[in-house]
């Protein structure tokens, strides 16, 4: 079975490509005229900046408009370090390092507030751009000579001058040498990021981008990983800023301007928001065009043209120019001989094969006097529930009885207003969702929560890796689970393409792959056929051999077939508890929920 190219060792092809690019790039750097080398250096530097945005946004899902800020800070850091250190050390590679560190540090600081503050979506974009503009104001108002670090004057509106060129001892600090240095740095960064994305970190980053809450429910610390990605982005932008300051011997507050920040978005959109190489192509194309416009006209039309390009891109080619071209070329090729996934090779799910081997290690689940209020609304009022290890428990009750809220308290989406929850002997009442998942809690949500933009195999793989943390082991586990669920033939397809029933099985597969000790199933048979429901009864029995299972269900037939202890919620309290056959004879329950045959 194909689980796409995850590796523990660097890709040889990519390493070869990187080496070849370095050799050719460095060679060319010294052949072309110095003036051309000067121009091209800037394009490569901008490509690196675009790459940082592509990585953070396209792969990390953080719509950060602050890459220009990290770039600018990196530039100033290089300037300060270069002016103060280079006279002694006669090189500027240490200054470049300082630039990268400052970029990463600024990203860590801003990212901490943004990511750990729970700021999401558009607020991230606005706060990052606002921070960039605040830096613009700050650096613009540092004209007073009092603003200096060592011998380096910040210079206010006019910027910092006299920044030393990129210098490596033994190599000349010419324009051609600068281009060579820039190319080497860019290729190394590109290679490192591409490798990173092909490792578990990259795949989990993709998972977090696609469905943050599911990733958390699988036991991953999404905040830490997102922050790590943001810091890497800041590091690359800072590095690019350092190269920029060394390239131009100058850095001014204009790098923090809205125009500069918008360029980053334009390069990335031209090259495609996910493509690493596209970032460079986008920067080359846009800067090349600007250069051309500057020669043909007074240059005043450049912002106008760029604005129109950005507007048209968003309206008509939101996937980027390059990816659209590539997709249409591929589309032409593919039209000859498309193989549709065949319905014939449908395989019955076999829960026993998928999960039968897991050892029996269910945890007792205890809720003590759990209450939950939303504003003035009391949804749960003192729920006491105890489910023994490896037992199956069904929760029933009318809509609004508090079943879903109870599950949300169990997984840690909310914290109860009062009461305690235990998994085994561990009190989890205030634990974050990922910590509970690591204790062995898994949930199949009501609406399947999966990664629709990732392949079926990748979905299960991310779940499996959360436990073993070993690539090979996770691949073996997910192959095994997929085979058991009859999804092997669809492993390489995007999960979003699955049918409703298959999605339900896929999500259960993701729960299973974690080898859970407590499984919560929220209305698992909704929308299933009778036959599928019956298979689900088998699944619950298999799950119960190794885990404690709690099922919320409205399908009374299914509840009866489970033959498990039933707890009925009503109005935020436990209304009744017992076997289904006993509850069916309880007049109160018939009135509240089940209804009577003769009243229908």
């Amino acid at each position: 079975m194909k689980i796409s190219n995850l590796r523990t060792r660097p890709s040889q092809t990519r390493a070869l490509g990187a080496t070849a690019t370095i050799v050719v790039g460095v060679g060319l750097s010294f052949i072309i005229p110095a003036f051309t080398a000067h121009t091209v250096s800037l394009w490569v530097i901008y490509g690196l900046l675009a790459l940082s945005f592509t990585f953070v946004w396209g792969h990390g899902g953080i719509f950060s408009l602050g890459q220009a800020a990290f770039f600018g800070l990196g530039g100033y850091a290089y300037g300060v370090a270069g002016i103060d250190l280079a006279p002694t050390t006669h090189e500027t590679m240490s200054a470049l390092l300082v630039a990268a560190v400052v970029g990463a540090g600024a990203a860590a600081l801003l990212g901490y507030f943004v990511i750990y503050g729970g700021i999401r979506g558009v607020f991230v974009a606005v706060i990052t751009i606002a921070a960039t503009l605040a830096l613009l104001t700050f650096f613009t108002s540092t004209g007073d000579p009092a603003y200096h670090i060592g011998a380096a004057m910040l210079g206010g509106d006019n910027g910092m001058v006299g920044v030393p060129s990129l210098t490596i001892p033994g190599l000349l600090s010419t324009s051609n040498g600068t281009l060579a240095t820039v190319v080497v740095v860019a290729v190394i960064v590109w290679f490192a990021i591409a490798e990173l994305l092909h490792r578990p970190f990259g795949r989990i980053l993709a998972g977090t981008r696609e469905n943050e809450f599911r990733t958390q429910l699988l036991g991953y610390d999404v905040r830490g990983r997102t922050l790590a990605a943001f810091v890497v982005g800041g590091l690359i932008a800072g590095l690019a800023g350092g190269l920029y300051a060394g390239w131009g011997n100058f850095i001014s507050p204009q790098v923090f301007s809205l125009q500069q920040a918008s360029l980053v978005a334009i390069w990335a959109l031209v090259g495609g928001r996910r493509s690493l190489i596209g970032a460079f192509i986008g920067a080359f194309a846009v800067q090349g065009l600007s250069e051309l416009l500057g020669q043909l006209t007074s240059g005043a039309v450049i912002p106008l043209v760029l604005g129109v390009i950005l507007l048209l891109l968003v309206l008509f080619l939101p996937n980027g120019v390059l990816p659209t071209i590539v997709a249409s070329v591929l589309g032409l090729v593919r039209q000859k001989g498309t193989a549709q996934p065949s319905v014939q090779n449908y395989v019955e799910p076999d829960p026993d094969a998928a999960f039968g081997r897991a050892p029996s290690r269910g945890l007792k689940v205890t809720a003590k006097a759990v209450s939950m209020r939303f504003g003035g609304l009391s949804v749960l009022r003192g729920i006491d529930l105890e489910v023994p290890a490896n037992a199956v428990r069904t929760l029933i009750g009318p809509n609004g009885a508090g079943k879903s809220t109870f599950f949300n308290l169990m997984i840690g989406r909310y914290r109860p207003t009062a009461g305690e929850i235990y998994l085994g002997d561990v009190r989890v009442t205030r634990l974050r969702p990922e910590k509970r998942a690591r204790l062995g809690l898994g949930i199949k949500t009501q609406v399947p929560s999966i990664y629709s933009e990732l392949t079926v195999a990748e979905n299960v793989w991310i779940a499996a890796w959360a436990v073993s943390r070993r690539t090979q082991e996770a691949s073996r586990m997910s192959a095994h689970v997929l085979a058991g669920l009859g999804l092997t033939h669809r492993a390489a397809e995007l999960a979003g393409a699955l049918s409703h029933g298959e999605l339900q099985w896929l999500e259960i597969g993701m729960v299973i792959a974690r080898e859970p000790r407590v499984v919560l199933l929220d209305e698992p048979t909704a929308g299933m056929t009778r036959a599928e429901t019956r298979r689900y009864v088998d699944l619950v029995a298999v799950l119960a051999r190794s885990a404690t299972v709690i099922v919320v269900e409205h399908d009374m037939e299914f509840v009866r077939e489970l033959e498990a202890q039933v707890t009925m919620f009503h109005d935020g309290t436990v209304f009744a508890e017992g076997l289904m056959d006993d509850l069916r004879h309880d007049d109160r329950i018939l009135d509240v929920y089940l209804g009577r045959a003769d009243s229908a």
Binding site: F63, L65, L110, F113, V114, Y116, G117, G118, I119, R120, G121, V122, F123, A125, V126, I127, I129, A130, A131, T132, L133, A134, L136, T137, F138, S141, T142, S257, L258, Q259, S262, A265, L269, A300, V301, I302, P303, L304, V305, L306, G307, V308, I309, L310, L311, L312, L313, V314, L315, P318, F374, G375, G376
Partner: protein
């Protein structure tokens, strides 16, 4: 502290607050009611300022010139909603990038038409002498107008049929459409009002400083901060955030320096968001529970 000094400090504080209200109200409205972050908001301010200057130079008195700018920007906003924003609802990054493109486009056009140099009109009204201090009457007018703007916007959205429809369309577009509200028209009007507020703001700011194509950039950062710190409720958010941030900026600027004021503003914003990711409005919602 003497009475005159106290009054001067209060006026400078309220003046910072009123500036934030004036530059951020339109942005807050478009975000709160339509989920649109208008990256061209600064350029809308700048256009409003240019319209006002052009009108004043053509012999129109300032208040009328400002009103004309507001109306012109309102019309332009509606056109932009029709042509651009309409295609992008629900894709928030796409709206941001598209309006960003618009922002570059406007800067480009203004540079071609008016040139890059700074234009200006004198600050109207004179100054009052208060003890040993001078107070600009115009800044007093701005403080009063900021209050009037908030009150008027509140009345429009709370008390008129359009306001009710707009709030319905903002909270549940499908449901609003289902009960017969023309959501697309309501959105067009809302963005028109937001743009008119930006035009008005630009017009009011025009006499305070020179107006150049980068005019908007000086205000847009503060406007963004105000909106994120304020949160989703446009009026309450914008006004409370303006009070907080304006107060801090003016306080730190007076005591230390304007640069420190800018940094304090950024720092306080980040601290607020660290603990209230949905802004000050989120605090208000929490308190109500």
């Amino acid at each position: 502290m003497k009475v005159d000094q106290f009054i001067v400090i209060m006026v400078s504080l309220l003046s910072s607050v009123s500036l934030l209200v004036i530059v951020s109200l339109g942005l807050a409205l478009a975000f709160g009611m339509m989920g649109v972050i208008n990256m061209a908001h600064g350029e809308f301010l700048m256009l409003g300022a240019y319209f006002t200057i052009t009108a004043v130079n053509a012999g129109i008195v300032l208040p009328v010139a400002i009103l004309i700018s507001a109306i012109a920007m309102g019309g332009l906003g509606m056109v932009i909603e029709r042509i651009v924003l309409r295609q992008l609802y629900g894709r928030i990054w796409a709206t941001m990038l598209a309006t960003w493109g618009l922002s570059l486009l406007i800067v480009g056009v203004v540079q071609l038409v008016f040139g890059t140099s700074s234009n200006g009109i004198p600050t109207p009204l004179s100054t009052i002498h208060l003890g040993g201090y001078m107070l600009s009457q115009y800044s007093l007018v701005l403080i009063a107008l900021a209050g009037v703007l908030i009150a008027t916007t509140y009345l429009v959205f709370a008390r008129t049929p359009y306001g009710t429809m707009a709030r319905a369309a903002a909270s549940l577009p499908e449901m609003a459409a289902a009960v017969g509200i023309n959501v697309s028209r309501v959105n067009m009007i809302t963005f028109g009002i937001a743009s008119a507020l930006a035009g008005l703001g630009g017009g009011l700011l025009a006499p305070l400083s020179g107006v150049s194509p980068t005019f908007g950039q000086g205000y847009i950062g503060d406007a963004f901060m105000t909106v994120v710190v304020g949160g989703a409720s446009p009026l309450l958010g914008a006004s409370t955030a303006s009070l907080l941030l304006g107060g801090i900026y003016a306080g730190v600027s007076n005591i230390v320096s304007p640069v420190a004021g800018t940094l304090a503003l950024l720092l306080v914003s980040m601290l607020v968001l660290r603990f209230l990711p949905t802004g000050l409005t989120g605090l208000w919602r929490k308190a109500r529970q």
